[in-house]
């Protein structure tokens, strides 16, 4: 190519958007979020801002509210939001249904992926992908194009092609379930991925595959929230910012050096 190459800007705005403004980099903004389940308050005022290109880790002891936060962001109805706001790409996320959040670009990788007997992965993903396309005003993918896309993304997380015929998560091992989550993430190409305890139930090989998948899906336009109890996953998916959630509040935010400190001294030291 002729001429000088343009400098790389990690958080380059989309073409047509000429004003570079820090506000435009914000993907997700959580302010004073409180949520309860059956009158028990779990989240007691969460503030969190996530910008394009960032990987945030949320760590914390069991029962701190980590999974509740991910469930509230994905729109699980068991939790009642009692206060605060969540803005995703300028939209009120809390006003959206779970499927609308998915269409807008939010993806939750489940800690315990759900088994759906009788529904094949192909049928499940075809319905999901075409729902996304419909929401964007696009036509359904042709069967051949869909299968090609699916084969490509399955290979990406080292899922055998025969899994396409399997019922969703039925009889899958822990590692297979998590790889299936990352496969779905690759298919749906979300802007914000929330990985809820993706490392639980994984051996080291599966962990490498899953983390490798997450890393290669990450681009300067996207962001991820990695929720984990342990350091292990964060050796593979390296966070930019680390938060510690304790008793429904973020009690500490720092750089990735915080991970080692927690591993060394535990959560009680914070």
């Amino acid at each position: 190519m002729d001429g000088p190459s343009e400098p790389e800007i990690s958080s380059r705005p989309k073409p047509g958007n000429l004003i570079i403004d820090a506000m435009n980099d914000i993907l997700l903004e959580i302010k004073g979020l409180r949520a309860s389940v059956e009158d028990k308050e779990i989240l007691k005022g969460i503030d969190l801002t996530i910008r394009k290109g960032e990987i945030h880790a949320i760590m914390g002891p069991n029962g701190a509210g980590k999974s509740t936060l991910s469930a509230v962001l994905a729109g699980r109805e068991q939790f009642t939001v009692t206060d605060g706001s969540v803005t995703f790409l300028g939209q009120d996320l809390l006003a959206m249904s779970p499927e609308e959040r998915s269409w807008a670009g939010v993806f939750l990788s489940f800690q315990y992926p759900v088994e759906i007997p009788g529904v094949s992965i192909t049928n499940f993903m075809k319905t999901a992908v075409n729902s996304h396309r419909k929401a964007k005003g696009l036509e359904e993918l042709k069967a051949g194009d869909f299968l090609k896309l699916m084969r490509e993304k399955m290979a990406f997380v080292k899922m055998k092609p025969e899994f396409s015929k399997r019922e969703v998560n039925v009889g899958f091992s822990g590692g297979e379930k998590k790889r299936n989550e990352i496969f779905q993430m690759a298919m749906l190409d979300p802007v914000l991925s929330i990985l809820d305890e993706t490392d639980s139930g994984l051996d080291v090989d599966a962990l490498r595959i899953v983390a490798g998948g997450v890393n290669s899906l990450h681009t300067p336009d996207k962001a991820a929230i990695v929720i984990t109890h342990y350091q292990r996953l964060l050796d593979y998916i390296v966070p930019d910012i680390v938060h510690v959630l304790k008793d429904g509040r973020i009690v500490k935010t720092a750089g990735r050096e915080l991970v080692a400190q927690i591993e060394d001294k535990g959560y009680d030291s914070l």
Partner: protein, 236 residues
């Protein structure tokens, strides 16, 4: 004669008189669709008697807006006979569906499988009565019966009554009946992937009912029923 209760013996004798006999080594397949603009199930004989090594396959489908009151009996009276009886019903409104199936295992080495699945919404009322009778002589019998139901509304009623009457001691028999709702965990999982609530429910209902339609051997007939099921559940 074949050692069953006096009551069942009398019932068997009465049924046998009018039974359609399937001879040694023969097979019969019947698919009966009951819908407001097709059959009512009247064409289905009330009783079949199966000879040695014969086979009977019946698939019954009761579509929305149709009601039925079907009593079906199968007598396995020749060794090596096999009966597969399955059915589905989709009742979103005020349908009345009654299905009664009696399976008589008179002789050894016969197999019977029953699978009935249905969806009850609106103020529909479903009754399922299934009885398996295994005579003392009918050793090595395999007899299975399942009836599973999904309730879509508070006002729909399902009454399921599985019964086993077994006099032989070397048999494999089981029955199971369930009445439940569509699984909300599955729905949330699907919605979190962008599948609308409507599509999620349709997928659940199709996957629930399709094992019954899959029992149809004829590809065209099977595909037609699967299409009809999909169209029906999408209107619920």
């Amino acid at each position: 004669m074949c050692n069953i209760s006096k009551k069942s013996e009398e019932r068997l004798t009465a049924l046998r008189d009018d039974a359609v006999a399937i001879g040694r080594g023969e097979s019969m397949r019947r698919t009966v669709i009951i819908s407001p603009d097709s059959g009512t199930g009247d064409t289905l004989p009330a009783c079949f008697a199966l000879g040695a090594d014969s086979r009977l396959d019946i698939v019954l489908a009761v579509m929305p807006g149709a009601g039925c009151d079907i009593s079906l009996a199968v007598i396995l009276e020749g060794e090596g006979a096999e009966a597969n009886i399955s059915g589905l019903y989709i009742c979103p409104g005020e349908e009345r569906v009654n299905i009664s199936v009696e399976l008589f295992h008179k002789v050894p080495h016969c197999v019977s499988r029953q699978l009935f699945k249905g969806i009850a919404g609106g103020s529909s009322k479903i009754g399922f009565f299934g009885k398996i009778i295994v005579a003392q002589d009918a050793q090595k019998t395999e007899a299975y019966q399942e009836n599973h139901n999904i309730l879509l509304s508070e006002t729909a009623i399902v009454n399921t009554k599985p019964q086993l009457e077994i006099y032989a001691d070397d048999v494999k028999c089981s029955h199971g009946a369930t009445i439940g709702k569509l699984n909300e965990e599955e729905q949330f999982y699907m919605r979190s992937r962008g599948i609308s609530m409507e599509d999620a429910k349709a997928l659940q209902m199709i996957s629930f009912l399709s094992p019954v339609a899959s029992a149809i051997a004829d590809v065209q007939e099977r595909e037609a029923l699967l299409d009809a099921i999909e169209a029906a559940v999408r209107r619920l």
